[in-house]
Symmetry: C5
Subunit: 251 residues, 5 copies
C-alpha cells in the first residue's frame, strides 16, 4: 500500500533523481471515469481499485508516479497521473498496464502531455544576483496541496528571436516570478515534437492567491506576447495519494 | 430543507462575508443531466434528489452555494452551482460529494470556472464623483430572477499596458456601466492561472433588456479591443432554489 | 390540435404582437433526436408525440411557438422551435416542459440562441426614399416554406466606430438588400449578453436562389469586414407544423 | 436494382439536366454508421439495406443521387450521398426518408453541405483562347473512381474586391488549372447563406497524383490568399454504387 | 503470422520499393478501441484478434502495413497503421476489410491522413556539399523504437513565394536538420487535396531527446513562420508488430 503513497519507501526508482535531473521523460495523463463505472456495484469497484495498486507496484522500479484529484475543479476530468522515467517507453508501459486494469477499462483518457527535463536554458546568462536568488531561494516548508499544470506553445517569432532577445525577456520573466519563489514551486518540461506543445509548466502551492498573482505578473512581461497557447487546458487539482483517489472513485 | 434555499438560516458559513469580501474562492460548476437519468423511474429520481440535500447540509459550515437553472436557455447544460469558501479545497470537497451522490453519477460536468475575489483594482484611482456613484448606488429592491456569467480573457497588450492606460480604459468602462448600476448587480472574480480565463463576471438582473444594453455599452469602449475571449460560453439562467431544480429533474 | 399549427386560432398569446413589436424575447432551440429514440417501438413514439401537443397547449397564453424541420439539410439537428414571449422566463418554462416530456428525454439540445427585438437602429437615419422603400415594400404573397437563421457577432472595431460610420455602412447594407425585400422576409434579434452573439438574423423565403444572392450582396458591403462570426451554425430548414415534425419522428 | 446504379435507366429525374444546368440544388450528406449497427445480426442488416433501395426508387422522379464510399480514407465518416433536384425541399424529403429507414436509425449525419449551381461567373470575361480551352477540353475517357469534395469560404476582402480584381485572379486560377482539365473533372456549387460556406467544389479523377498537383497549383495563385476555409473537411472517397456500399455495411 | 511482423518475408508487396519510391500512396489511420470492447470476454477478444491477422494476409500482395502503439502516450487513440500501396484504392480496401472484422466493429477511427510520396523538391537545388551530406549520411544502425507523425499545413504566403525564396528557406531548414540525420530517420508525404494538410512528416528514432532538439532547431528557421498547422495532432508512438498490439488489446 505504501507503494501508492506520494513518497514510496523502498526498491523503487530513484524518485529524487527522477524529479530533479535533466534527461527525464515526464508524461501527464488525465482521466475521466466513464459514466457507466459509477453504476457498477461497490464491490466490483473496490476490487478494481485493488488491481490498480498491483500495477503501481509492478512498475515501481522503472517509473515514479504522482497522483492528483481534478474532480470538482475541472470539467471532463477526474484525476491525472504524472509519470517520470528515463525512457518514454517505461511511461507508456506503465500507462498501458494501468489502462488494462478493470478500472482502466472505464477510464477515458481526456488529455496526455509528454515532455523531457533539461538543464536551465537561460539562468546561466542571468546577472549573478538574480542567479543567486533563483538558485538559493528555498520554498517555504509545509505541504503544498495544490498542483497546477499549464501547457505552453510559443509563436514562430519567439523561436526566431536572437538568443540575446530571448535572454532579456526571460530575465524580465524571472524577475517577475522571484517574489513567488517561496510559496510556489515550479518545474519545467520541454515538449516540442513530443506533443503539440513547446513546454509543460508544473506548479505546486499552498496559496492559490499567490499563484494567481504570479500568473498575472507573468502576463505582464513582454515574453507573454509570444505565448500562442497558455493553458487550454489549465489543470488545477489537489495532490492526493492514489489510495484516496481510488477511495473516492469507489464510494 | 431550508438549507437548500438561497438564504440558509443557521449554523452556516458566513454567507454575507463570503459573498462580499476579498480572498474568497468561487467555483462555478455547470452540469448537464445524462440522458439515461431521464429514463430512470420516478421513485429512484426522487430518492436521488433527497440525497443531494444531505450533501448540501453536510458542507453548510464551510461553503455557501447558490443554484441556477440553465435548462431551456442554454444548450448542453441544465443547471449550475456557484460555490464560495475561503479555500478552493472546500469547493472541491463539496463538489466531489455532490458528484458522488446517485444523481451525481448522472451529471456531466460541462464547464467549471474557478476564481478568487479581490479588492477593486481601479476604483481607488477614479475621480471622486465616479467613485461616489459606484460606491453609493444601491440596486433597485425586489427579486432579480436572472443570472448571467461571462468568462473573460484579456490579450497580452492589455496586461502589458502601463497602469495609467488601463486606469483610463477602466474609467471609460465604468462610466458606460453607471446607468445600469440600479438594475444590474455585478460581481467580479479573478481567474488567471486558476482556469483558462482572466476574469469571471457574474450579473443578476430583473431586466434582461437593460442587461443587453449594458453589454452593448461595454462593447463600445476601448477596453473591449483587449477581450480575447468574452463569453464562450455565456451562461444565462434563472436563480432557483435547489429544491426547485431537483423537482424539475425528478418530474 | 389547431394549437400546434403555425397560426393558432384562439385564446393564445397575441401572436401578431409578439412577432412584430419591440421588447419581445425570442429563443431558438435546436434539437437532435437521440439515436435510442429511433429504436423505441412505434406506439411509444406516437404516445410521446401526443404529450408534446399538451405542452404546447398549456403554454399557449404566454408564448407563441414556430416550428421548423432541419433534418436532411443540417447535420446534428432534426428540428428547431422559435419561441417568443414578453419574458425570457416564459420561454424557459415552455422549453423545460417540452424537454420534460417523454420525447424530451430523447432530445439533445444542440444549440440555443437567445435575443430580444428592438425598434430599428439605423432606418430613422436613412435618406427618405430608402426609408420609404424599406417601410412600404410588401413581401410577395404566398407561402415561404424555407427559413434560415444566421447568428452574427461583430468585432470590437464595429462597436467602437462612431455612429456616423455605422450609419453609412448600414445604409450600404440596406441598399444591397432592397432588391430582395419582396422575396425574402427578415427579422432581427439583439443578443449581446444574452448569448455568445450580437445578433440573430432570421429569414423566410420561397426562393433559395434569391436568398443566396442576397447573402452574396451582403458579403460585398464594407460592414461584412466587421462580422467576426456569420453563421457557424447557419440553420437552413423548412417551416412545418409541429404535427408534421412529430409524425416524421414517429415513423 | 438498376435504380441504385450510378446511371439509373428509366422514369427517373432528368439526370443529365440536373448534373449540368444552373439553378439546381445540391446537398452533400455525409454519414457515419453508428457503432451499434455493426453489432446487429447479419439478417437484420441485410433487410435494412433492402429498405434503402425502396427509398431510392420512391424519389427517383424528383432527385438524382450519387453515392461514395469514404470509409478507410476519412475519419468519422463511412459514405456520402450527393443529391440533386430543382427544389431543396426534394433533397430534404429524400434524406428524411433515407434517415427514416432502419439503417437510417443507425446513421450519424456527420456533415451536410448545401449549394446551388449557377452559370459561370468569370469565364465570359476571360480572353478568347482561355475561354476556348475551358469550354472545349474534353476529360479523358474511362472511369474516374475517386471523388473529392472541398468546401470553401472566402474572406471579406475577396467579396469587397472590385469585379476587375476578381476577374484577374480567377483568370490566373483558371490558367493554373488548365493542365489538369483532362484528368480532373470539376463542378462548382454556390453555398453562401445555404450553409456556413461560399462554395462547394467537387472533383472526380482517376489520377490522385494529378489532383494533388492541381491543388498545389491552385495554392500558388493569389486568389488562395482569400480562402478563409479550404477543406475542413476535405472528403476523399471512391465512387461506388449504393448496392456496394450497402453490401460493405452488411458484411 | 510472420505476415504481421514489421518485415513480412514472402509473396508480399515489394515493401522496399513501396517504402522508398515516389508515387506511392500512404494512409495513416489512427484508431481508438471503443470502451465496450474492453468489457467483452477474453475469448471473444482473442478470436477477434485472430481475424485481423487474416485480413493482413489477404492484402499482403497489394499493401504493406506498419503498426504502432499510441496507447499511453496520446489521448483518444490506441494505435495507428501506416499503409502503403501504388493506388489509394488498395489502401481503402485494406482498411475497409480491417474495419469489417469483429475487432473493427469496436474501432473508432480518430484520425486519417492521406498522402503521396514524390522525388525531393529542393535537394537538387542545394549546394553540392549539402546535397552530399543529405544523400550519404546513413542512420545509426540498431532499432528505432519510437515513431512520430507531424501533419503540416503551409500558409498562402509560402505557396505564393517565388521558388528562389522557398529554396533558400528549405536550405536553412535542411542545414538545421543535418546534425540529426544519424539519429532521426525521416519520410515525407505530400497531402494537398488528399486531406486537410499539405504534408505528413514521419520520423523514427531511438533518441527522443535528439528528436526534441531537432524540432526546436526547425522551429528556429524562417520557414517555421509559414506553418499554419504543425502537429494538431502530433502522433507519438512506439513501433510494435500487430501481434503485440493485438495481445495488448486482448489482455
Amino acid at each position: 500500500m505504501a507503494v501508492l503513497a506520494a513518497q514510496p519507501a523502498f526498491a523503487a526508482a530513484d524518485r529524487e533523481k527522477l524529479l530533479t535531473e535533466p534527461g527525464v521523460y515526464g508524461t501527464f495523463a488525465v482521466f475521466k471515469v466513464d459514466e457507466t463505472w459509477w453504476k457498477l456495484d461497490k464491490a466490483t469497484r473496490t476490487f478494481a481499485a485493488a488491481e490498480v495498486k498491483v500495477v503501481f507496484q509492478k512498475h515501481t522500479e522503472r517509473v515514479t508516479v504522482d497522483t492528483y484529484l481534478l474532480r470538482g475543479l475541472m470539467e471532463q476530468a477526474d484525476f491525472f497521473v504524472r509519470v517520470h522515467s528515463t525512457e518514454m517507453l517505461h511511461n507508456q508501459n506503465f500507462l498501458v498496464d494501468l489502462m488494462g486494469t478493470r478500472l482502466g477499462k472505464y477510464l477515458v483518457n481526456t488529455y496526455t502531455f509528454n515532455g523531457i527535463t533539461k538543464p536551465p536554458n537561460y539562468v546561466p546568462g542571468f546577472p549573478e544576483d538574480l542567479q543567486k536568488v533563483v538558485k538559493t531561494t528555498v520554498p517555504d516548508p509545509g505541504p503544498k496541496p495544490y498542483a497546477i499544470v499549464v501547457p505552453v506553445r510559443k509563436d514562430a517569432e519567439w523561436w526566431l528571436m536572437p538568443q540575446d532577445g530571448r535572454n532579456a525577456m526571460m530575465k524580465e520573466h524571472t524577475e517577475a516570478a522571484v517574489p513567488y519563489l517561496k510559496t510556489v514551486k515550479r518545474k519545467l518540461y520541454h515538449a516540442s515534437g513530443l506533443d503539440d506543445l513547446d513546454f509543460i509548466t508544473y506548479f505546486e502551492t499552498a496559496k492559490l492567491d499567490d499563484f494567481n498573482n504570479l500568473i498575472i505578473a507573468l502576463e505582464r512581461v513582454k515574453e507573454n506576447r509570444h505565448n500562442k497557447q497558455f493553458g487550454g487546458p489549465t489543470l488545477l487539482g489537489t495532490i492526493r495519494p492514489m489510495e484516496e483517489i481510488l477511495e473516492i472513485l469507489a464510494r
